[in-house]
């Protein structure tokens, strides 16, 4: 039923008019049965290409794709038993919803009575009973997306692939649909690969996330892992908000907690965690990464980092500060609002600090 997926050294190079473009660079990934793994990244990072290779619409330039241990790298699309949900739904405009959903079953040669039963079951699963005889252009975007989902589910595929399925829906619908999709996927226990550029979507639905940039995998991990322990400034910045400040190594020796000390611009020293593999020496360049919600803003104090308030925005549940630090760095802080919170005004000098347990030094 549901399967495992393995990508081994998968690479895709497009050559157009004798120019070569490397879309996917050496991906390695292992997906367990029943897992929902999301490919997350900005446009052009190679996530859709990877998904299409798994589907069979593109062939990898090198590497192999194994589904349930079998090498499917060069197997044609129609023999892979996958379900693919397209960004534009790709509903067949000249067929009714009924025939759209039943298309694959009919192509497979199943009996009409069986087909009918399965279609109605799938439609009720996505909550679309009663619309079987309408045409795609008579439905709303959200309804069309659900039909696309039903069409795929009814085939009982072992692998479900979804290419930015919600990006054409409005915000509220998107939030509703993503939980629906997750619910159905878990109910059916299908292994699912999901592509999106929306990080909140990724964080909500996934078991694990593969963050990609420019064809390469930046990091693979659960939402929590990626959020708290990003392995690169790219990941840190892409998921949630992050302050990234260049730092110079001061003491290369780490203490028993794995912390090291670096100097920030202005010669202030800061201690934070370092999980990188490189052996460091004094004077090496690193990046300090700290999230806005982990910064404390207080009165100017000795031995504390200082900054000037450039902006103070009250957003309801919290207050956001833009602090000018070291003459050119803007540090964003986000403080939970409580009624007795002291608010600092524009151009006021303040101090800010952060905990070494919630701060990271990164190599890149």
């Amino acid at each position: 039923m549901s399967v495992s997926l393995e990508l081994n050294n998968v690479t895709k190079i497009f050559s157009k008019d004798s120019e070569k473009f490397c879309a996917v660079d050496n991906i390695n990934l292992s997906v367990e049965k029943g897992e929902l793994v999301t490919f997350l990244g900005p446009s052009g990072c190679g996530k859709t290409t990877t998904l299409r290779m798994i589907a069979g619409f593109e062939n990898p330039t090198s590497g192999s794709i194994l589904i349930s241990g079998k090498d499917m790298t060069n197997v044609p699309v129609n023999e892979r038993a996958i379900g693919f949900v397209f960004q534009n739904y790709a509903l067949f405009p000249h067929m009714t919803i009924f025939n759209n959903v039943g298309y694959g079953l009919k192509a497979r040669g199943e009996k009409d009575a069986d087909i009918r039963e399965k279609i109605l079951k799938a439609l009720s699963l996505v909550d679309l009973n009663g619309d079987e005889n309408r045409y795609p252009n008579q439905l709303s975007g959200g309804e069309q997306q659900r039909v696309a989902l039903a069409r795929v589910i009814v085939m009982e595929p072992s692998l479900l692939l979804m290419d930015e399925p919600l990006s054409n829906l409005d915000a509220k619908l998107r939030i509703y649909m993503r939980t629906e999709i997750r619910r159905i996927q878990q109910a059916l226990g299908i292994t699912c690969l999901y592509v999106t550029h929306d990080q909140s979507e990724a964080l909500t639905v996934s078991d694990r996330i593969v963050v990609m940039s420019r064809g390469k995998v930046e990091q693979i991990g659960t939402a929590l892992e990626i959020y708290s322990n990003p392995l690169s400034t790219f990941v840190a910045d892409f998921i949630g908000q992050a302050n990234i400040i260049p730092a110079v190594v001061d003491t290369a020796l780490s203490d028993n907690k794995g912390n090291i000390v670096c100097l920030l611009p202005g010669e202030k020293s800061v201690k934070a965690r370092y999980y990188g593999k490189n052996s460091l020496k004094k004077g090496d360049n690193l990046f300090l990464v700290v999230r806005p919600e982990n910064i404390t803003v207080e009165k100017v104090g000795k031995d504390l980092l200082t900054g000037v308030v450039k902006n103070c925005i009250f957003v309801g549940s919290h207050v956001e500060y833009d602090l000018l630090f070291g003459e050119k760095y803007i540090v964003k802080a986000s403080i939970d609002f409580k009624p007795d919170l002291k608010l600092y005004k524009k151009n006021e000098k303040v101090s800010f600090s952060f905990d070494e347990n919630t701060t990271l030094f990164l190599d890149k």
Binding site: T11, T61, P76, F92, G104, A107, R108
Partner: protein, 568 residues
Amino acid sequence: MQSCILSKKQEHQFLYRKDPVLFCTLIIIWTCFAVFIFYPLIRLLYAAFFSDGHISIENIKKNFINVYTLKSLINSLLLATAVSICGTFLGYIFALAVNRTKLNPILKSGIGAITILPLISPPFTSSISLTLALGPNGTLLKLLGIPNANIYGFVGTWISETLTYFPVAFMVISAILNTMSASLDDAASSLGAKRGRIFRTITLPLSVPAIGNSILLLFGSSLADFATPLILGGHKFPVLPTQAYLQITGMFDLNGGSSLSFLLIIPALLVFFFQQVLIGDKNYVTVTGKSGAKSKFVPLPKTLQIICVCVASIIILFVLYLYFIILAGSFVKVWGIDNSLTLRNYAYVFANGKKAVSDTLKIAIVSTLLGSVLAVVIGYIIGRKNFPAKGFLDFSALLNYALPGTVVGIAYIAAFNNKPILLTGTMTILVAAYVFRYYATGIRSVIASLQQIDPALEEASLSLGANPVHTFTHITIPLIIPAVLTGMRYLFIHCMTAISATIFLVSARWTLLTTRILESMTELQFPQASAFSIVLIILVFAADALIGLGMKVYTKQFSGNVQKENKK
């Protein structure tokens, strides 16, 4: 990026293994092209330049560098230029009258319908009635009291060809005027622009591509027109296609005729090249039957409206008059002498013309079906697949279409009158001549149609387990049916009314209506020629209307779907 090294072996995976259906299809297509497109052209070039096995300089001198040939070449180019400019101008006025005036919508669709007439009738019907109307002692001249004008020569040919081809310009320009965004006019109006200014600064500049396309189309058509100059050109105004024809059929000089047709190839290919550069795949003329009555456009300034409508009306009346002559001619006993009405001409057609009618229909239907299948297959592989030498395949497919009919006809007799491939007198040679010339519109329509269809639809089908053939028949074909129907319409009309290539290929066993009409005319059987012409026009009109109806019904159902789906 050390993993991003390309493995040569993987890059050039054999097409044969990756996509065997495509591979087989390509083999078949290239074979057909080799036999029916390349081989005749090679034989033609051989016949033009070689004599008894070696290049003969005397032949080249005699055929190419002689005064009559050069005159023909210059005349052809001159005529083509004049016709393309005037025809485009007329077409533009008509397009404006239909799309940018406040004329009654019924009148507008009437204008649209009448301009179809010259397109679906045999190319020389208008030249014949023109002679009767404006020739020496012509009926119209008598009516208007103008003394004898000499219609033979440049003037007559130019008028006749302009009247025959301006509908093409009308349709091309109409299409652009129709699809222009009306909101541009609105924006200009809201900025205070008056009607005249809107026309000069928005409508006119935006229609330049259509004007260019129309000029090229008309230039090519006039260049290739064999029949009109045959009747109206006379000896004082020789043009290349007619001269080539006379050379071959009269002087059995395949050598000379081939040389003359070779001269035609160069301008024809140039025109074709410019069209590709200018318009690419979008220059097929779709006969959609939409005579625009969209009043959201800003109409022209009043004086311009009046001018356009007047000019259009005069021309329409004249065209109707020409066809009336033919209609009248089919019902009279003896033209000019005994004008009593009779049905005996039609009786003659049904008695003696049955073979011509059935032969023509047989060939037209077979050609239309075959041509449509080929158009779909070729259009699909060009539009959706990638394979080596794709650009060359595209060019070759359209080669016979780019060349004038005379050239193709001569090439075919040069190639197929002798071994190794003997096809004279068969149906095959006629069908091949038609299919490989007139499937061009079908191919272009299919390609354009495929461009509008999201490839995701076909991918969805594959991902649902349907194999490529099933996908093709259940998804692709239903969605491109309008394009296929357009191609079929064009094919059928041209198969029924073709003469330029046909006249070289007709035989004792296959008689065609167009050649019967031409022969009747040259044998003074004017009433019978008229009756044949009317029968032909009715047949073509009926078939055209049928296919048009089919298209309307089909597109109404879900063209809206296709467009909407993919505008996201």
